[in-house]
Symmetry: C2
Subunit: 281 residues, 2 copies
């Protein structure tokens, strides 16, 4: 598994770097970004927060707009941001170029339907291949947490709920909480997974949270002025599941905030400190 | 002078807003962004930091990427980011679409050469029209500071050096320090101001700093891995002028940093605290 550095910027005493690599799982060349805190120059191995972005994003949105590096550099946490789907001319895209299916919209599932099942395997990529790559090439330890926004908030919660031994903690901004019951999720799951809706349930956080044997501490922030709140995000389904299953979820409704990176930037420090409690102890 | 709100996002307890308005000075419709700190809800009038962006930028780059809102919200400072040139179909652009002349490259001068002299009057816009607009529409006081990056660093320093009574303090990241002597400046000044180079000198900070009757406290940060350092930026010319004129300039060379917003984000808090000393006393 080789990787190629394609950019680097010094950032708050640490480094923001972009790499490309060939993904066996996805069958295409992928790009990811990593923030490395200054602690690595002292020989320390640092834990990693994985960040999953939302629809239309790449590895760049979070690194450019969230303002996470200041506190991550202070705390000593690396951050890894993958792309949001397989990419490239050989990777099939939505025939009409929709923003919510195909390129930029992998939904962190393993597709089973042709032609998507050859490349659209973001679940395996984020869970297995990418961490193995990160842990073999960078001075990181094996403590991992995961966070994300919107489609990526769904991905973070779902991955942590299904793989509690892989993650110390999970958080999300404005997650698609109950994708089997909202338009974005129904469209994506029908396309990638087919018409048998029982296969969709393994990717629905509100459902998974009701049957969790090993809870992962979870923090969710949701703006109450988010245009997608009622139709697509449905945080009340998470709250109900957490209550029913006595799951350790803290969900905060944030007054006046919307779906943008201005919202994420306003609370990213809280999320970093939350993950630090679990990554650094 | 009417303005139209075109977007708003809650941000760190304050608000990021974009407005459009017709500029009499520039003869076209312009967009600007403003960050308003939470202090205004208590009836306070707050001072304003004007931010001038670099080549190719709009009002959005700084607001999305610099991470300034966190500390500005805490300190109680508004930030205003104008566009970098007049815009629109009626505004002449570089015939070859160059990134360093025409749209996105106003260089904060008042053009004297046709066809540029009708619209390209960013000096008057930033110095007079925009502050008058801001001070008539928002709960701000008349304390102003100014900062910027690259072409905008040139603009900030030049405007403060020529108008010391208008600004409490000035700062810059990677400014074009001596534009009469670098390729970017020579191209822009020849185009906007014509071949008489004596007319260029009023817009050259390294020259202006040698003859300053009323110094404005100045902070400049420059990355030593900036690709434009030697050919375009020439910070050593500012250092020499400050030394010759005993000007209150602190210029910091920052090891390992480049020309990007990752550099700006790493030190924007220092600049905000510097301006706060002068805006809030």
């Amino acid at each position: 598994m080789s990787i190629e550095n394609i950019s680097w910027n010094k950032s708050f005493g640490g480094w923001h770097k972009q790499y490309s690599h060939y993904s066996e799982v996805l069958g295409c060349t992928m790009r990811f970004a990593i923030f490395l805190p200054p602690h690595i120059t002292r020989g320390d191995k640092v834990p990693v927060l994985y960040w999953l972005s939302g629809l239309t994003c790449t590895d760049e949105n979070f690194m450019q707009k969230a303002g996470a590096q200041r506190l991550a550099a202070e705390l000593g946490i690396a951050i890894v941001a993958p792309d949001t789907s397989p990419r490239g001319e050989d990777v099939p895209d939505d025939p009409e170029g929709a923003y919510d299916f195909g390129h930029g919209a992998g939904f962190y599932v393993n597709a089973t339907e042709a032609p998507w099942n050859r490349h659209y395997r973001m679940y395996d990529y984020v869970l297995e291949e990418l961490p193995a790559l990160i842990e073999s090439h960078f001075p990181v330890n094996n403590k991992r947490s995961i966070s994300g926004h919107s489609m990526g908030g769904h991905g973070a919660l779902m991955l942590a709920l299904r793989n509690p031994s892989r993650y110390q903690s999970v958080s999300a901004f404005s997650p698609i909480s109950n994708p089997t019951q909202c338009p974005w999720g129904k469209k994506a799951f029908a396309g990638y997974l087919g018409s048998d809706k029982t296969s969709w349930e393994q990717y629905d956080s509100a459902l998974l949270m009701r049957n969790s044997a090993q809870p992962v501490p979870a923090l969710v922030d949701q703006g109450d002025q988010d245009d997608f709140l009622a139709e697509q995000l449905k945080p009340e389904t998470l709250v109900a599941s957490a209550k029913a299953a006595d799951y350790p979820l803290e969900l905060r409704m944030q007054e006046g905030f919307d779906h943008s990176y201005y919202f994420i930037a306003s609370f990213i420090d809280d999320h970093l400190r939350f993950h630090a409690q679990h990554l650094l102890d």
